[in-house]
């Protein structure tokens, strides 16, 4: 046996700094607004200031008279294109026709009414002020519960009840469980509307080559391929004449997992004017017109025994859909239902979902997409049950966790949890936090009259979207690995990233499999002309699904490498490792670069083998993955002002195997910060007339550096058998776990005053009012 193999460095599992960073830290990366083209024109979009109104007239002549204005398009000009696509389907789903520009009516503030095309972006903006629109304002409804009341204004006149769909799921014997319960706790819980606020707003550049009859759309998107298919359909353009490029994307969080009116519209404009066109969303437009997240009103009932056993759960979920369905709008609350049982063993569950139209921008996937709402609900209800029976919140969880020997675990909502060790994660979090000591500290604090709280959330999430039968689009992912003639390696992935770091993590996989250096690997993505069809980056899927596709492509490639190696070494017994192929008999070696060169030179092909070293794999996952973890938050509430101070934040997450711990920590930190935003600060507020009154970053507070505590992270590692890498995914974990942990902590802090529940965001005035009431009680 050969012993001379030079084992190269192992990359997987190491804290490797990212390959994508040099361009980002030097300001040389190319985001959509950085693209300049000769003859480029600029678009600005006139948007409705009314939440509901009839359009009586639009006068564009004053705008068109300006020499810098090239064209103005309104609803009547775009009747042949669209609609904006909805990819989700449910039985009986009502789908309003979503035209790319309003026709005779507007349905939410920000609804696009006209698009101005001008020679520069300043004139395009000026021209918006020169267009006159006569509106006849109509009554609007912005609150989903009010929209359900009899006599509420109809968002779409054809459906006066404002109900887009209802959805029922039931398992076990819920009535029996509730009848047998010692305790039933009921609570209305709101998961408020949030604004995703990717730091880069959306933007589109469209370039029509009339000679080639081909259109290129550059868009800040998470899903270039799905966009190509859907925009081609909306424009009536053959799909192979449309190229979509996602350049550098400045954050998405689900808000760019969509196809918007503007992508279709800019494609249309480029074809009309025969010039490249650019539209960049302003922050105000981003708040008004890019999807929002959450927007639940949930009515929960939990049934349990005095010994802490959870028997069952009932839920009525009212989902604020907004005025239209964007790509996945109606599917989001169904994800909540899937995750309702959390990581607990009870079998009796009933969920009724009502999807409600409102005169607001649509809700859709925002980091966690349905799962933060579910986790927030179940984790709050478990805490409330514990409080009701006087049990420690950790103890009730230990009592009800699905046990390690029960995996794969079939949930009552039809999922199969892959692996888990929920108790271990919670034990670890309790150990890191010093839970029992904290409870002692709390006793002391309470004696001093301080409002000191400890909150736990233990979560499971459904990740690695997902097997195709369970997703609106395909759930697979593609990868191509190509060893170039010089031995350098190019990876093409369909999981186009927007900050997650696949250029590094996928390269790490390649390094270990092919024995090359990390600098020898380039990971390309985001261009439909370059990369085979792929699905995209969302739902914590990129590494678990996209990475696995890379892994399988590498396995096939290694077989081919060995074949070429065997031919070059003139041996029938070779192995490939550490970047060299070795003859197991003679110990002679040939390097990957030599093999690559020979494979393209193709002078001596192994029998039945094509030239070149390229391997493409489309991997269909057999199941989702189910990461989990436990977060513990210590808070203190200022009795005088209601202000919340986060004193400790401990996050123990289990995302299966880890390729790069540095990046995993980054995902957890970022996720926690967004969960914290929801728990403490963020809320998209529409007034009664459908005006978004948190219309700018001056009013809508996303966390600043001073508002996020230091997060103490730790991990347990329970690999999944769903993929050979054992990876589960981590993108959404922090967001899902954080908000219930914070709210549980603050409720715990205020519990001596008789507080049982508080809806997010936990703004100081709300807490102050509770403290005032408690003081009187």
């Amino acid at each position: 046996m050969a012993t001379t193999i030079t084992k190269t460095e192992t990359f997987v599992g190491k804290r490797i700094r990212r390959k994508e960073d040099p361009r980002l830290i030097t300001g040389t990366a190319t985001y959509v607004d950085d693209i300049q083209m000769p003859g480029m024109h600029y678009a600005a979009i006139l948007r409705s200031p009314h939440a509901a109104a009839r359009i009586l007239a639009i006068r564009t002549d004053a705008a068109l008279r300006h020499p810098g204005v090239v064209a103005v398009f309104t609803g009547k000009d775009v009747e042949g294109i669209g609609p904006v696509p909805c990819g989700a389907s449910l039985p009986g789903l009502r789908v309003p026709y979503h035209s790319v520009l309003a026709r005779d009516r507007v349905y939410f503030v920000g609804h696009p009414v006209a698009v101005v095309v001008a020679r520069d972006r300043y004139i395009a903006r000026d021209a918006l002020d020169w267009i006159e629109v006569d509106y006849e304002p109509l009554p609007a409804v912005a609150d989903p519960e009010k929209a359900l009341e009899p006599g509420a204004p109809a968002v779409h006149p054809e459906w006066p009840d404002n109900i887009a769909f209802t959805y029922h799921q039931e398992a076990g014997d819920v009535d029996k469980a509730f009848a047998e319960a010692d305790v039933v706790v009921k609570q209305r819980i709101v998961s408020q509307r949030l604004i995703p606020t990717a730091l880069e707003t959306r933007g589109v550049v469209a370039d029509w080559r009339s000679g080639e009859k081909s259109l290129t759309i550059y868009s800040s998107t998470q899903i270039p391929h799905l966009m190509r298919t859907l925009v081609a359909q909306a424009l009536g353009l053959p799909e192979n004449r449309l190229r979509v490029v996602a350049p550098e994307v400045g954050g998405g969080f689900g808000s760019k997992l969509n196809v918007y009116a503007e992508e279709i519209l800019m494609g249309f404009v480029a074809m009309k004017i025969g010039k490249p066109i650019k539209w960049i969303e302003s922050r105000r437009e981003n708040f008004l017109c890019t999807i929002h997240g959450r927007g639940h009103v949930d009515y929960f009932e939990i049934a349990g025994k005095r010994d802490g056993t959870i028997l069952g759960l009932k839920l009525k979920l009212i989902q604020d859909l907004g005025a239209y369905h964007q790509l996945l709008t109606p599917a989001i609350p169904t994800l909540s239902v899937l995750m309702m049982p959390g990581i607990y063993r009870f079998r009796n569950i009933r969920a009724e979902v009502i999807g409600v139209f409102t005169n607001c921008v649509p809700t859709d996937a925002y980091r966690g997409a349905g799962r933060p709402e579910a986790t927030h609900g179940i984790e709050r209800m478990v805490d409330m049950l514990a409080a009701e029976i006087g049990m420690d919140p950790a103890e009730i969880r230990f009592k009800n966790f699905v046990r390690p020997d029960e995996f794969p675990y079939a949930t009552p909502t039809g999922l199969s949890y892959d692996t888990g060790n929920y108790a271990t994660a919670l034990e670890k979090a309790m150990e890191v936090a010093g839970y029992h000591q904290l409870r002692e500290e709390q006793k002391k604090a309470r004696q001093e009259g301080r409002l000191f709280g400890i909150g736990i959330s233990t979560y499971g999430e459904i990740c690695a979207f997902g097997p195709s039968p369970a997703t609106p689009a395909g759930g697979w992912e593609s990868a191509t690995v190509r060893v170039e003639p010089t031995g350098k390696v190019t990876v093409l992935t369909g999981s186009s990233p927007h900050g997650q770091g696949q250029e590094t993590t996928f390269a790490q996989l390649v390094c270990d499999e092919l024995g090359v250096d990390i600098d020898d690997v380039v990971v390309q993505h985001g261009d439909t002309a370059m990369v085979p069809y792929g699905i995209g980056t969302f739902g914590s899927r990129a590494t678990a699904v996209g990475g696995t596709a890379v892994y399988f492509a590498l396995q096939a490639l290694k077989e081919k490498i060995k074949k070429f190696g065997a031919t070059l070494l003139d041996s029938d017994d070779v192995s490939f490792s550490g970047g060299v192929c070795i003859c197991n008999k003679t110990g002679r070696t040939v390097s990957l670069a030599e093999i690559a060169a020979a494979s393209y030179r193709a002078a001596k092909l192994p029998p039945g083998t094509e030239p070149g070293l390229v391997s493409t794999y489309f991997w269909e996952p057999p199941n989702f993955t189910f990461p989990f973890g436990a977060h513990i938050v210590v808070t203190e509430v200022d009795r005088e002002t209601g202000a919340v101070e986060i004193k400790r934040y401990v996050a123990v997450d289990d995302c299966g195997k880890v390729i790069n711990p540095l990046l995993v920590e980054g995902q957890v930190h970022g996720g926690v910060a967004q969960g914290l935003g929801q728990a403490l600060y963020e809320q998209a507020v529409y007034d009664d007339n459908g005006q978004l009154v948190t219309g700018e970053l001056m009013d809508y507070a996303i966390p600043k550096a001073t508002m996020v505590p230091r997060i103490e992270t730790d991990r347990t590692e329970t690999p999944t058998p769903v993929n050979p890498l054992g990876i589960k995914g981590v993108g959404e974990a922090g967001t899902i776990a954080c908000s219930p942990a914070v709210v549980n902590s603050v409720v715990d802090a205020l519990s001596p005053l008789g507080v049982r529940h508080i809806d997010m965001p936990l703004v100081p005035e709300k807490l102050w009012r509770l403290i005032q009431k408690g003081g009187q009680a």
């Binding site: 903006r125 000026d126 005088e640 600060y681 507070a701």
Partner: protein, 284 residues
């Protein structure tokens, strides 16, 4: 994101600037930290802008005759870090550190901030507590106003058309004076939900001087005279502070917005008045 067009003038001398501003149709531009965002949102659309940024001699902090004179174009950062102010009038320097963020403090000016008169701006609380004066100039004349006469209402000052803030004058603190600026910042905008500037001095064991400037609470910043009177002559015990703080909101119509109702704002003002006074007394 894009302002309306305007005519831009950048005079090199104050006289030239005042002449350009004399007819009241132009908008003076100082740091632009409030004006430019408003212009980008097109909530402001001045037809002519006179940039004061090219005029030498408007940016200084100097001590003269027991007073500190601060040129209108002095930036928040310069005020925040001025060794003279830190030593001789620390309240203004510490207040400046609360304004906006580092970049805004690098550019924003005291004159511009005062002229904009945002009712939640930080400076006014401190300047009121300091009993500062503002020197205003216009073509062919100037006048000096006590700061409390300068603020008229929301975004509205005593500035006449064509008139600008030339200088702000604050006292050199007498020994034994303690000051503090305490603020509840809006989590998004950073503006003061309430901001309390407290300034106290003891004499013979009693509170000899108490000054309280309040911002964010009402449609204009104000001095809480009743509270000051209630505190002066007391021992400055916790109960005295509380009694004084209670007077801060008496007769005041508090602002209400999405983040804080009038009732809560008033409550915060009282709580922060106690905290401010406590902290000022500790520093005295």
């Amino acid at each position: 994101m894009i302002p309306q067009n305007f005519t831009y003038q950048a005079p090199k001398t104050l006289e030239e600037a005042l002449a350009l501003l004399a007819d009241g149709t132009a908008k003076p531009l100082a740091g632009g930290m409030s004006l430019i965002p408003l212009m980008k949102l097109r909530l402001a659309a001045p037809e002519r802008i006179v940039d004061l940024g090219r005029i030498p001699g408007l940016n200084y902090i100097r001590e003269e005759d027991g007073k500190i004179r601060i040129g209108a174009m002095t930036t928040h950062y310069e005020i925040e870090t001025s060794p003279l102010l830190r030593a001789r009038c620390p309240l203004l320097a510490t207040t400046a550190a609360h304004i906006g963020d580092m970049q805004v403090r690098n550019v924003g000016t005291i004159g511009g901030s005062l002229a904009h008169a945002d009712p939640a701006a930080d400076y006014p609380a401190a300047l009121l507590a300091l009993e500062a004066e503002v020197r205003l100039v216009r073509a062919g004349g100037e006048r000096t106003l006590p700061i409390r006469d300068f603020f008229v209402d929301v975004f509205t000052t005593a500035l006449e058309p064509g008139e600008i803030v030339r200088e702000v004058v604050v006292p050199v603190e007498a020994p034994g004076t303690g000051t503090s600026y305490q603020k509840v910042a809006h989590p998004a905008s950073g503006f003061a939900v309430v901001g309390i500037a407290a300034r106290v001095r003891r004499g013979d064991g009693k509170i000899a001087l108490a000054r309280l400037g309040v911002t964010g609470l009402a449609s204009k910043p104000f001095r809480a005279d009743a509270a000051e009177k209630r505190l002066e002559g007391t021992d400055g015990a916790e109960t005295d502070l509380r009694a004084a703080a209670a007077a801060v909101t008496e007769g005041v119509e508090a602002n209400s917005d999405l983040y804080a109702s009038a009732e809560y704002r008033a409550h915060l003002a009282r709580v922060y008045a106690v905290r401010g006074l406590r902290s000022a007394l500790q520093a005295a």
